[in-house]
Symmetry: D2
Subunit: 284 residues, 4 copies
């Protein structure tokens, strides 16, 4: 089997799309390994993800040929090979459990990505994990009134490293609207609450004060609208009256890191398609 | 073993409470079967639940003797026998899955309660379940502008039936502040969302619009502040992009009925103590 | 939109199946609403489920035309309309929580099925639920040494009622090999443990003795090999040291009824395809 | 508040134990912060855990005084301070996700322990995580027929390091009966299945072959009876037909590491009491 390619697409729904797409791939001699689709009947939008073995066919020719179908249907689409890890830039502040977790998963090849750098507004000494190794670490503190300058440096790093994805791995700084817009569609954040509950700061303290019986975490795409971007993945754990805010923080770390890691994995496998303010997630 | 009694209490924390309470019970010849306590260190409040076998001792004498300890410590307390089912009044509107579920659980003795009546703002024909049997059914519709009158009739029923607990089993009417205050502390509601997310009407439609990946339900005590009463129990289930609001409603039914039934069971076993805006829940 | 049809199929994997199937449906003027497929790469088997709107096309003609494709690919397949509820026979013993639950779900149209009868080895008086209503109830006790005769009567009932599915809703009798073979592929059982743990009798007592921290239930197709049939759905709940076997039985009832109901729903929506000793389950 | 002490005890049940224990602590001037108890009515065994603030009292005197009560009741007991981390030895083979996880949790003070060494039957180069830092690493390979010798070296390490707990963090070697007996009561293992299902080797492959819909992990005390020791903690995750054994392995890593970490934390906080073949676990 040749290394699979992933076709992900969305367009206005109309009859015959599946037949057209799969017919094209069959005609190219490709073998479909995994295929999922979703009709959003309410919105009239169609979403599809196909993993296929290109066989003997030339990848570039398949892609070019598909371009004209995509044009005809007005598709938003991508067709990427899975054997080239994407370039990922990680941003972190003081709490590095998500960072440590992503670094380990990358190292054992659980999540295929090339980590092109780690940025923090805190110095390297503030990092607990020893997993950084040789990965370039950038200490970009935010001096008072210098937020714009710091964000410009992050942007420059995104450009230099040609990062395809930026992950806010508990990066506790609010991005400016410009920065959020700049990163839109290629930036995943982990919010330490089960959104839309407890937006904003100190969500576990809010959760404790409200007396909820479960706490959670939410991984979402970054948009200009803080804590309102399309949700990729969420999970929760039960808590009791005996859990102090500090114990919720402890339990929360486990939820945060697995929710963020899952969202990053799903994104890097082209399993997440944006559908307005929501997402379509094609799990295997 | 004699039928156990349940002592539930709360008071300002100070050293020696447990020793005093358990010492008293030991001196009466009672055997403790189950005991739980919780110190809310932040609030300085102490909570305790003790299930004990009174042995040969006279229940009334135990209770009287305990009264002076309770007085000394300024306790809020109850000491009830578990062999007398509480009197419960159920309120329902059109969707009767929670009602059907509670009726069945009562019937197989899973939840010990005497259902003294079912009230609905819809006629009996609107009820799907056949489980009502001989339970008195009261159709109390709400004519325009006559809400106060209808609530007065419910209050009269609560008095007549000497109901100790009122359960809003998907009763889709907003109680007046007076009614909520009247029922405060003895009324449990099921809200079909994971509070504090999606308060108010049509929560599953709200959840769908926001694109969350889990939906839930919340059982809470009724207070004047709508959807803000102390939470007793919550649970969630995963949903996907493919779940329409209607499918969320379907999945939600299962969550709602098990969350409400659990809350009612916990309450009737004196396992729920109110701690300001929150609850302490002593599970076995 | 016309009432959708469901095509479910499996065959040896080879390139071009999806294109062929979806091409055929497109050519008939059908619009695909939902489609899922699975390649079992290890076994070389392909599975597919397609829900489609037949539009103006004649259902019988679509089916006939598909027959020749199916023949060509050696497919096992069905193409059924979803607006005709299947005929279902329910078997129960003493514990009727699953029965009560299925009857309620059918009544509120959550599970589309026509319940053609309820069979029990206990008399009608042993049934707790009041949900039976007008559904024919058959008391088929098992006199010593008369098991074969009783099973023959059940078989006769299956024939008379033309039942398409038999559900063992906590039917606590072990079927003979002949009976199991007779019902094979059209009979779902609920086992009150998380298989393969705790096969056989009194699984909650076994679970308590082993000291597990979670209990579960398993819905599976009936085969001659007791407790070994292909698993359709499973779920679990946490338990603690404080849970007696009786409390496990109580908690288990909730798991059993929701696991069985989900399995029945999945089966009746043609979402379950058998893959040797396992199943492929296409959830929406 | 002085650093709390933890009293954990078990004995044959009889009336008045709680009063006696709490009365003694009150008389010493200690303030109880957290207390839990459990009566195993079937076995006639009583279990209790008390966290208390010793206040101005002398810890050694409290302990000595308690000794005579313990003697009187025939208690198995411990009374330890929580501000001295226990000495822990970690054993690992090729898969180091549990090791990496425990090292990180220790480093951020989530689990209070002093890691006195890491032992592996593979060389240090086989370890993926960079978290080892300065922790002594011992490569103790098992040459053919030299298992007894290798185990003797581990025993020597346990003695030298005065390890109070040994954690088998995916140590893929079967301990000899002698070694298991030697470590009994102070050794925790993670088994990568939901016991008692899929004992023995390659449990995820077994699970895949059986077609289960959930996979899990089990942390248990090591006893001579392989995979049969008292269970401390278990958890599961759903899987589908599309999960290959390799994907189950991936999902399993997350379950394994959180189940093992939780078991280690519970043990180190004296929250786990052995009750024959089972455990009593007092969560906060």
């Amino acid at each position: 089997m040749a290394e699979p390619m992933i076709l992900a697409l969305s367009c206005a729904d109309r009859p015959g799309i599946v037949a057209r797409v799969t017919g094209y791939l069959a005609q190219c001699g490709c073998n479909i390994i995994e295929a999922q689709q979703f009709d959003d009947l309410a919105e009239g939008r169609f979403f599809m993800r196909v993993a296929f073995d290109p066989g003997a066919a030339d990848r570039e020719e398949i892609r070019e040929g598909f371009g004209s179908i995509a044009h005809e249907y007005g598709m938003a689409w991508s067709m990427l090979r899975q054997d080239r890890p994407r370039r990922v830039l990680l941003l972190v502040s003081k709490f590095d459990h998500c960072l440590a977790d992503l670094l380990y998963r990358q190292r054992i090849d659980e999540i295929a990505m090339e980590i092109v750098g780690v940025v923090s507004n805190h110095p390297r000494e503030a990092i607990n994990t020893l997993m950084l190794g040789d990965i370039p670490f950038h200490h970009l503190p935010i001096a008072k009134g210098e937020k714009a300058a710091q964000e410009a440096r992050i942007r420059a790093l995104v450009e230099e490293t040609r990062a395809e994805l930026v992950v806010l791995a508990r990066y506790m700084q609010i991005l400016s609207d410009e920065m959020a817009a700049y990163l839109s569609g290629r930036c995943i954040n982990i919010h330490h609450s089960f959104l839309p509950g407890f937006k904003g700061a100190k969500p576990y303290h809010q959760a404790h004060a409200r007396g909820v019986k479960m706490i959670g975490a939410t991984a979402h795409y970054v948009t200009a609208d803080l804590d309102e971007g399309p949700i990729i993945h969420q999970d929760v754990e039960p808590v009791t009256h005996a859990d102090t805010p500090e114990e919720m923080v402890r339990k929360g770390r486990d939820i945060e890191r697995r929710v963020l890691a899952e969202a990053v994995r799903l994104h890097l496998e082209d399993r997440v398609l944006v559908n307005g303010a929501r997402t379509v997630v094609f799990r295997s």
